[in-house]
């Protein structure tokens, strides 16, 4: 087997066994990058020189036995909305086109402590706002499975890099599906953990109450190993949780006997591509055949999730993005007459269309006289959605559904109709509103050979059950 075909955990084992040098792993990654990057464009920034320097230092630590982590020496790609000290962190925006952070995000720090080698920073929708990676100021990323199509978004660069073997795993962030949907489109595994599991410190915020960092990986084991490495209480993030149950690799058992799995009938209604529907149902059937108890049930409030999500996420974003003003860092307009003019021009020129649309929507729903009707109402809907999941999880251990209504759309198809793009988030956003974990795993291909993603939800803190079911399914499915 070629080196590039190895999973992250397999590579880690070979590095630990001194069968593979860290440099060789990097060579493999950069060979793929050199061959494919001009077409795929997974990365905004490559950090080749420092990656090799670090590889040599790590090799010494591995050889001396000081670094024994299962991911030691394995090359990783980081979404460009996580701060990396000394390395450009642009959020795929013009406004942060010169922003080099003075500190590193906690999740990335944890990976570095586990011996990860950062290859570079991946492309994304500007400020994670989008579902296609087409809103990036630095150009689109193409889906490695079909370069005429989008990789999904907003963590499209991370998903594409994993699918194209341009890294062995990647970090993404998920506010409304931004890990799970591109994982589905690119045929890789992605998980958004329970809100609070991974520190948000250093993640440039989009919707603070919804954002979570998570892995995009080649298989379920990799996803579990990476999530295990980055999950930890962080005193620098007030919303971070002190969980004791983050040994996710221990949950990887081929056993779903007696697991109660609910299929929300409301996720299989109008708008869902029949090919996607049948692939997901077939996967659920496979789990049933393996001993799980699978049944359909009605999940309440599904249609309210999208308006509630866009109200809350945009409200928070409108405030989170105020700090980008040309004063302290980032882009500043060339010509201005006074402070107000400088703000106006900097932000008008620095932000892209989709970001400006969401800032305006968010500012509107928070404005005096509309706050109660929009923002407060959306919070109430959020609470109702949480309640609907509570009721569902009283009956089921897991919930299974599609990741997105269709497989990856063609480049340029989505942005012309933002409403349609927003509606595409219907199956993923509820997990963010409810704070629950959700995993995306490939479960088939459509007639064009494009990957179809299945989503597995669990109640808060039930990542172990999700991993168990996903692992079992992956064994049944075989190599994707």
């Amino acid at each position: 087997m070629e080196l590039k075909e190895l999973t992250a955990v397999e590579l880690g084992e070979k590095i630990a066994a001194k069968e593979v040098k860290v440099r060789e792993a990097l060579d493999s990654v950069f060979a793929e990058i050199d061959a494919k990057e001009s077409e795929i464009h997974s990365y905004i920034t490559l950090d080749r020189e420092r990656a090799y320097e670090r590889a040599d230092r790590l090799q010494q630590l591995i050889d001396s036995g000081e670094c024994k982590s299962p991911l030691a020496g394995v090359p990783v790609a980081i979404k460009d909305n996580m701060c990396t000290k000394g390395l450009l962190t642009s959020c795929a925006s013009k406004i942060l086109g010169n922003f080099v952070p003075t500190y590193t995000a906690t999740a990335v720090e944890r990976l570095e402590a586990a011996g990860a080698v950062i290859v570079g920073k991946t492309n994304m929708d500007e400020f994670a706002m989008g579902s296609t990676t087409e809103t990036s100021y630095y150009g689109v990323t193409r889906n490695p499975r079909d370069t005429g199509r989008v990789p999904g978004g907003s963590s499209g660069g991370s998903a594409a890099a994993v699918a194209a073997n341009e890294c062995f795993y990647a970090l993404g962030s998920d506010t409304g599906g931004s890990i799970r949907q591109p994982a589905g489109y690119c045929g890789v595994v992605g998980i958004k953990p329970t809100y609070g599991t991974v520190s948000r410190y250093g993640l440039i915020a989009y919707g603070s109450s919804l954002d979570q960092i998570g892995p995009l990986a080649k298989d379920v084991r990799d996803a579990a190993a990476v999530l295990e490495a980055i999950s930890a209480y962080d005193e620098k993030d007030s919303t971070s949780l002190d969980r004791k149950d983050t040994s996710f690799t221990a949950a990887l058992k081929e056993d779903v006997k007696g697991l109660r799995i609910g299929i929300p009938a409301d996720y299989f209604g109008e708008g869902l591509d029949p090919e996607v529907a049948s692939a997901v149902k077939a996967a659920a059937k496979a789990l049933q055949d393996a001993g799980a108890v699978v049944e359909e049930f009605p999940l309440a409030h599904v249609k309210y999730a999208i308006p509630a999500y866009y109200t809350i996420a945009d409200a928070e974003a409108s405030s989170n993005l105020e700090r980008f003003d040309g004063i302290k860092y980032g882009y500043r307009t060339e010509d201005y007459t006074d402070l107000h003019d400088m703000y106006k021009k900097t932000r008008s020129e620095g932000f892209g269309t989709e970001v400006k649309r969401r800032i305006m929507l968010g500012s509107f729903v928070l404005s005096s006289g509309y706050y109660d009707a929009y923002y407060l109402k959306a919070l109430k809907v959020k609470a109702l959605i949480r309640k609907a999941f509570d009721e569902a999880f009283a009956k089921y251990d897991l919930i299974i559904g599609p990741v997105a209504p269709t497989t990856a759309p063609k480049l340029g198809e989505s942005l012309s109709d933002p409403m349609k793009m927003y509606l595409g988030d219907i199956y993923t956003i509820s997990a963010n509103l409810a704070g629950i974990p959700g995993l995306s795993i490939p479960c088939g291909k459509d007639e064009n050979g494009l990957p179809i993603g299945m989503q597995i939800f669990g109640d808060c803190f039930k990542e172990d059950l999700i991993f168990r079911a996903a692992y079992t399914y992956e064994k049944i499915r075989g190599k994707f």
Binding site: K236, E322, D325
Partner: protein, 478 residues
């Protein structure tokens, strides 16, 4: 002729809390650091940084709330107040709008007529301070210093219950006393650690409805607050009397000119788009926490004054001075307990201490003398180990660096000569050396004895007790 008008005043008081670190990060709150040195990603609004609440801020806010009879909010939140300005690095200030930490309190004040009344506290909320703009006078630029960004503040919002400048000052003094006694702030108006904005309207006496109010900012002393209130009252009455109407606006008081000018009107008011800060978890306050803070509340000044009058028998004026500062009161009590001489302790505080504070332009809070050493000093004089003029010298040294008076007297050899034989010998020598004075004394000039006492003290290098010398000389002179 003009009608009688009543002034209606409510205050918004900002107090900078005396925490060691900022409200949402670990940076120092100390004054006077090099520009942008007390900063980190959090208080400079770096992308991806997150706030974490400093628990001490909540403790101080609860303590002030308890002192002012407020209800403490068990489930509170922080909200973002969104507005663009360069001193505000995130372009939102983290404050509290919907669920402030304290509500519905009241503070008792004495009115100018000698009566008592309550001023209601609408709410107390916690928030962060902004940075400081530095305008370059030569270049065409402004710079920002974020050292103050994130310094904790509480804002105490009163009800419109005050009717005169005197009541306002009485209220502010009361607040300041509580906060200083709690150690929550030094409350210095000039330095900005206490800032008061005055909301004022006037209405004809007997009228129920409030008039249109203005808000006055930039008031840096009790004097300027008093002037601003008087000035604004006159201005509003003039407008009403000439048939106009008061515009709701924010005004800035110019202390030098003694008048105010409009900063912005209600129409220019921004929409701050307040909403709960999703980066911070709700502030949940348990009954136990409140009780723990309540049990640590100090005895405040009014109770202390009453108790001192009863327990120590020192003049009311002295009690007023001593209890003005909790630090001085603590020093007084502990030193009195140690030496059992409250009047003597009070005397040291009232005379020498006040003199030195004034001379050195210091606050009572800055007194460094420990109660142990002050008590020792009282005992040294009581036991006539040193005389009063030596004691003053020792005290000055103690005031500098809390020197131990016993050791100091020992080391400098300042003990009074107690060997009566030795003093007698010096007296005899002085009598022998000053025949003229002796003759004068014997001729009935009582004053001459003073000169002889002085000479003896001089010869004894000050270490004799003047009373003893006096009687000894009289005895020797027959």
């Amino acid at each position: 002729m003009s009608r009688e008008y009543e002034t209606v005043i409510g205050l918004e008081v900002h107090v900078e809390l005396a925490t060691k670190t900022k409200i949402f990060c670990g940076c120092s709150t100390q004054f006077g650091g090099e520009v942008n040195t007390h900063t980190c990603p959090v208080c400079t609004g770096m992308p991806g940084s997150l706030p974490v609440l400093n628990k001490q801020v909540v403790e101080y806010a609860i303590a002030v709330g308890l002192a002012t009879n407020c209800e403490i909010t068990r489930y509170g939140k922080f909200d973002r107040k969104n507005y663009f300005y360069p001193d505000n690095p995130q372009n939102y200030q983290i404050s509290q709008l919907y669920l402030p930490i304290c509500r519905n309190g009241k503070v008792e004040i004495e009115t100018e007529k000698g009566g008592k009344k309550y001023v209601g506290i609408h709410e107390i909320h916690m928030e962060e301070d902004a940075g400081k703009l530095i305008h370059d006078e030569w270049g065409d630029v402004s710079l920002v210093d974020y050292n103050r960004s994130g310094v904790p503040l509480i804002e105490i919002v009163s009800e419109p219950d005050m009717r005169s400048a005197e009541e306002v000052i009485a209220y502010l003094e009361k607040l300041r006393m509580f906060i200083r006694y709690l150690g929550a702030s030094d409350c210095k108006l000039q330095e900005g650690s206490m800032r008061a904005d005055v909301n004022l309207s006037v209405r004809p006496v007997g009228e129920e409805k409030f008039g249109t109010r203005t808000e006055m900012k930039n008031l840096n002393s009790f004097t300027s607050i008093t002037h601003a209130i008087e000035n604004e009252r006159e201005r509003q009455i003039d407008i009403l009397e000439s048939g106009g109407s008061v515009i709701q606006e924010t005004r800035r008081f110019d202390d030098n000119k003694g008048e105010s000018y409009a900063m912005r009107s209600k129409e220019d008011a921004q929409d701050y788009r307040y909403f709960p800060d999703p980066d911070l978890i709700p502030v949940q306050i348990s009954e136990e926490w409140i009780e723990e803070i309540r049990s640590r509340q100090p005895e405040f000044r009014p109770e202390k004054m009453a108790r001192y009058a009863k327990e120590y028998g020192i003049p009311e004026y002295d009690i007023g001075i001593i209890t003005d500062s909790r630090h001085m009161a603590d020093l007084f009590e502990e030193a009195s307990r140690l030496c059992g001489q409250p009047k003597k302790v009070s005397n040291w505080l009232m005379v020498e201490t006040l003199r030195l504070l004034k001379e050195k332009n210091m606050d009572a809070e800055d007194i460094r003398i420990s109660p142990q050493h002050l008590a020792s000093l009282v005992e040294l004089t009581e036991k006539k180990v040193i005389n009063s003029s030596v004691a003053k010298e020792v005290f000055e040294q103690m005031f500098e660096d809390d020197t131990d008076p016993v050791r100091y007297v020992e080391e400098k050899g300042l003990k009074q000569e107690t060997d009566s034989g030795a003093i007698r010998a010096i007296c005899e020598q002085v009598i022998a050396d000053n025949p003229q004075s002796v003759a004068d004394y014997k001729a009935g000039k009582e004053k001459a004895i003073g000169f002889l006492v002085g000479q003896t003290m001089k010869a004894a290098k000050g270490k004799a007790d003047p009373g003893t010398v006096n009687s000894l000389l009289k005895e020797l002179l027959g």
